[in-house]
Symmetry: C2
Subunit: 213 residues, 2 copies
DNA sequence: CGCAAAATGTGATTAATCCTCACATTTGCA
DNA sequence: TGCAAATGTGAGGATTAATCACATTTTGCG
């Protein structure tokens, strides 16, 4: 969050970076901008979020907004980056020391719960995900992030089943991971009790795939 | 496709319906509009699709476009409706007469392949799905469609396992169905051979969940 | 301090784009 | 034929993302 978006020159359509805040004052203003954007997204969705409204609510001018964010997507992206960084750390920690089946079972189960709760509690996350999907560049970055997370799972699997085909394990981990993201997004879009059932069913299915019956 | 969008008065933001074409001439023009839109979406994505460009490519004026489509989303929606109607018929037919485990195994496997091929062949479908995700009203309509499809699967499951808890079977069918959609969308966004592996892994996982080992 | 340069702040303005509307043309039909 | 309904048109209204020329504040340094 401190420095500019990592350069991806091959990837089209990532707008030119802007100045990053170096003074205390501007850093606080950027925080206010992000907070305003987050609130507006939670209220109306990122599509309905107006740049003028973000500026007004943050108590800054339009120009200041564009001083630090090259365009509207960049604001959504900055928020998404925070959430993914947060969950990424969580995931790595949870899976790092898994060494046997029962450990994986427990860690995975907790991970899914955390993810589910996170989405339930943060309406912004759902919306951010939607707009990420609609944008090619952001979608590919999110896919890369998901792949990185799946790698942690694959690493744990390889420790548990060292004799299995690594490619198979990687495929299984990636698939299960993506299925989990889809399951959670599905679960939060239906009634709470049905959502709970779906998440529970997903856990059973995923664990059966990962560590067997 | 013949008549107006079904009324959903509670659901905000579905724009007011327009006249539906009754003369031969206008029906052909509407076809040209949809074809133009489809081509543009395939080229640049539905977000980058410009109404003026659709009109120009279809050889009609902007006004004519808005004569039959209340807004931009309606065009995307009309295309999505065609695809989903097509696949819905396919799904119902494939699952209608399934009565035992082997029948389900085969029908399900074929269904997944068809779905996968459909997405591989039609770049428009992927894009339509993306924009559907970004739009609350369309997302809920798509969810309803998916639920309907899962019902066919649930019905087959109930015939095969009449003693099992119906709620459990419905949950499993819905989850497996959604996981399938997610798996296919994932598969088409990666390299072809990895996509094939992912779809194959999904099939295994889904069938294990549906009919056991 | 004094002061120049860099960083930051501003909002009227530009440009792009969706969509409307008043009016023109064509078609169906008695 | 003649009229009403259906269809066709494109200039222009309205919205909004993003720019840019200029004002203000902070920082670094002798």
């Amino acid at each position: 969050m401190d420095d500019k978006v990592a350069a991806k020159p091959d990837q089209a359509a990532i707008a030119s970076p802007r100045r990053s805040p170096s003074q205390q004052r501007s850093r606080e203003r950027v925080e206010r901008m992000l907070a305003a954007a987050s609130a507006l997204i939670a209220e109306q969705g990122s599509d309905a979020m107006r740049m003028g409204e973000v500026a007004e609510r943050a108590g800054v001018s339009i120009g200041s907004l564009y001083q630090f964010f090259p365009d509207k997507r960049a604001i959504v992206w900055a928020l998404a980056e925070r959430y993914t960084a947060e969950s990424q750390a969580c995931i790595a920690a949870a899976l790092k020391d898994v060494g046997d089946k029962d450990g994986l079972r427990q860690a995975f189960s907790e991970l899914v719960d955390i993810y589910y709760q996170l989405f339930l509690a943060e309406p912004v996350m759902r919306d951010i995900w939607s707009s990420t999907q609609a944008d090619k560049a952001l979608r590919e970055l999110e896919l890369a992030d998901s792949r990185a997370n799946a790698e942690f799972l694959a690493a744990a699997l390889k420790r548990i089943r060292p004799d299995a085909d690594p490619i198979e394990l990687e495929t299984a981990a990636f698939l299960v991971w993506q299925m989990g993201e889809a399951a959670v997004r599905l679960a939060i879009s239906v009634e709470r009790d049905e959502g709970d059932r779906l998440v529970a069913a997903y856990k059973r299915m995923a664990l059966r795939e990962l560590v067997g019956e």
